[in-house]
Structure formats: structure tokens, C-alpha cells
Amino acid sequence: MRLTSPSSPCVRQNAAGAEPVLELRGLTRRFGSFTAVDKVSLAVSDGEMVAVLGRSGAGKSTLLNMINRLVDPSEGEILYQGRDIAKLSGAELLAWRRQSAMIFQRFNLVGRLSVLTNVLTGRLNHKPRFPKLFGFFSDEERNLALDALAALGMDEQALKRADQLSGGQQQRVAISRALVQEPRLILADEPVASLDPVNSQAVMEALRRINREHGITVLCNLHSVPLARAWCDRVIALSAGRVVYDGPIAGLDDAMLLSIYGSAAALTEAH
């Protein structure tokens, strides 16, 4: 199953120095007088798996939501392969959302729909769009959905109601949904924060596998430093909406961590 769009090359390793494919320039988001994200600038290369660390309230979720345009930026640019995502609207915006699949902390599946239908919602922005309003998906798309479920080990649950699954299972269904979108980018907002260690492992492993096998760039908000160390090549750390660290995971020493998390107590929580 081909899950990468034809134009993105299959890059395998941390491509430091390669052409950045996603660039944020001066990205800012204010809510009234509160600045959640403050002039964030960074560049991500194709195929990287990047962890975004920081305390809760540091602006991680807002940042990811802006990239997907679920939230609009107050200022700044989001450039993907040269196009400013922040200025997109209409059909182009919807197409972008399809290409930047999101994984949520609470899975955000539709509980009463079957697992299969949930995965199929990932195909809503693919043509033909109108019949899908009435539940008509082509056999081709159904096969694609089942392939994606099988890749995550969830095909046997295809006809069950989504809310009858455990947390770890639901997140894997959410990843299948992301896969069938044929995305160029996966934005994972605290994907394992609601899961136990075993399921966290399975989900992070799945994300890593997708990143390596299909070359899809992954940006992952994480609440735990060991997780970042175990699964990602590069770390961006946010504190009060600003980038305070941007580099390889190895460069994160204790002093830096203390400044990110602010206090020893918060730091131990992140472990």
C-alpha cells in the first residue's frame, strides 16, 4: 500500500542540513491578552520525527493546532514547501488538513460509529466527495481502510463500535484514520498521555514505524522526556510559548530540562 504522496521522497534519517519542508516564521497566537505561542520560528525537514516538549500550558497544543489550521494564527507564517498555510482558505484549506493528519490525546473518534467508518472518515476529503455524505465509500477505499487497520493490528475490530474499544485500541484506530488520509505530515498532540505504558509503547512504535517506512514527517507533542528520548531524533522545547531549545535529543541535559520545566517537581512529573 502506497501511503506517501508521489512528490515527497522517502527520507529515512534525521536530515539535518537538508532543505526544510515545513517552516514556521514568527508564528504567534494570542487569546485576548494571553499569548499562547510567541513568535515561534523553526524548520523541519522531510521525514524527521520531532518531539515537542514543555509544561502544560506552554503552547504545544496551540502550536500543532495552528499547523493543521484548526486554530488560526494571530501573526506569522507557516510555510509548507513554500506555500503559506496560514493564508489558505476554502477547498485548499480542507486539502491541507487532509495532508496534515492529526492524532489527539483523547483519540477524537466518533463513539457510535464503527471502527471502519471512523477510519473511512479519513477519506472524506478524497474524491468523490458527495456520495460520502450518504455513507457511500468505494470498495477500493474500504480495502484501503482495512489495510490500514491491519497494519495497526486492529482489523478484527473493524465492525465494532469505536467506544467499545480500550484507549490503546482507539488510538491505533485514530492512527489508521490518519494513514488513509495519505498525509505528508502527522501531528500528534499528546498521543499517549491517556494511555498506560504498554499501550504507549505500542502507539509510539507505530508512529515511529510509519515515520521510517513511509517517510512521513511526524511532529509529536510529548509530556514525558524519556518517551522523547526513546522515540524521536530531535527535540523542540517550548516554555511560555517560546522556543527554548531546538536540536538533537542528545543535547538535552539536566540544566536545560530544569529551565524548560521550571521546577524540580515539574521535572520529576515529566519523568
Binding site: 493543521n68 484548526l70 480542507l94 486539502a95 491541507w96 488538513r97 487532509r98 495532508q99 493528519a101 492529526m102 489527539f104 483523547r106 483519540f107 477524537n108 473518534l109 466518533v110 463513539g111 457510535r112 460509529l113 464503527s114 467508518t117 472518515t121 479519513g122 472524506l124 476529503n125 466527495r129 460520502k132 455524505l133 465492525l159 465494532k160 463500535r161 469505536a162 485514530a174 484514520r177 488520509q181
Partner: protein
Amino acid sequence: MANAVPQSAARTRFAEAWAKHKRARRQQWLFGIAILIVLTAISAWLGEVSLTLLWERLPRFGSYFGRMVPELAWATLWGDLAYWYWNGWHWLASLWQTVLIALYATMFGVVLAYVFSFLAARNLSPVPWVAVAARRILEVARTVPELVFAVLFVFAFGIGPLAGVLAIGLHSFGALGKLFGDVAENIDPEPLRGVRATGASWAQTMVYGATPQLAPDYLSYGLLRLEINVRAASILGFVGAGGIGQDLYRAIKNFDHTDISAIALMLIAAVMLIDAICGWLRGRVIGQESLRAL
């Protein structure tokens, strides 16, 4: 028990505050009751309420009901019943038409209200001012009485059940639209975000993200509306909009008291039957929500 537990300063402060709060609450209640009494007095005056009149006229209750009771004797029971229901088959047909009117009007109202509810819900509507406008439209539709719509539609579409279906349908659209909108404003936003994040259009998000959460409540309200609409359909015939109302009106105008009771009984039986069916269906709809996947 005095001084078994030493009173701290905080506890005395709390006790005082609590007492003050209770006093304020009691004052509020008394104020409310006073207003109620005043309003009742005004209403009684405006409404020309006269309990003595009611007392005087109590026997009329009896005589009215008495005239409605047909003459039934054990010996001639079948004959008497046949006489009482001399027009029974025609009335049954009218009753059937009444139910049909209610059914189609409810379907019409439910479908329109379903679509409209997404516009009227502040959390779902595509642009904020649309929600305000939608709510106003719904308000007009459910405030104008069905009978008034019926007269208007009889004028426009002619005498017959079509006017009735449209009148009740429009009114139901208003009532259901408001209820649906309220339900829609309280749904879980997370599944919506999940669907929206895939690049789905607004309509697709409503179908896949919102509708599964809303379906059991919408169906339940729809069935409830059917029960109400059967009652409404029964009187539309008064103005020529079809159904058994016409027969009832004729019986009342001609003082055919036993006809009134005959029709009323059939009507009550039909209403009870429909209520029972709708109640059962509603139970299954709510129960089903814990079972199958959509």
C-alpha cells in the same frame, strides 16, 4: 453537647454566613410568592374567573356528559352500538386520514428541523449570525398556532389534508428545530474536531461528527412530536384542513351529542394506541444506543 467541640473563629464566621444566606434565600422565596399572588389576582380579574359561577354551573357538566352517553341496554347491545356508531366506517376513515396527516407532517418537520438544527446551533453553524437568524425563524414557526397556519394554507392550497400537513409540519419544524438546536449545542466537540481535522467539509463534519451523537435524541423528540401532532391533526378539520376534526365540528354544531362521544372515544383510543407505539419505539431507540454500531 455544648462545648463538646470547641468553636473556632472560622466556624462561627461560617455559621453567620450560612444564616445570612438562608435569610436571603427565604426572602427571595417570599418575594417570589408575593409576586405570584399579585399575578394570580390580576389574572383572575382579567380572566373573569368566578368560582361561584363554576359552582353554579357544575350540574351542567353532568347534563352535558349525560347527553353524550348513548342509550345502551344489555338486551339490545349490538343494535345500540351499531346505532351509536352509525357512521363508524366514515369516522374510521377520517381518523386514518388524521393519523396520516400527523405522520407526514412529523416526517416533514423532522427532516427540515434536522437540517436546520445545524444552522441554529451556535457551536455548529458555519457563521455566527446564521444561528441567530435561524433561531428567529424557528421561533416564528413555532409560535404561530397550527390553526392559524391551517387557515392560511386552506386559503392558499384549498380545503383538504394538504393544508393540514403543511400547517402541522411547519409548526413542528419550529418546535423540533429549537429542541434539536438545544441538543446540538450540548454535544461533545471532540469527535467533531476529529472529523474536521481530516479535511472534511462542514456538511461532512455534521454528518459524521455530529449526527451519530444526535440521532437517538432527535428520533426520540420526533416520536414525541408525533404523539402531539396526532392531537393537533384531530382539530384541524375545524377549519377544513382535513381529518376527523371536520366530523367532530359538525357533530358539535348540530348538537349531535352521542356523535360527539362516539368520535371522542375513537379519537382517545387512537391517541392512546399511538402513544403506546411511540413510547415503545422511543424505548428501543434509547436502548439501541448501547448496542449496534451505526
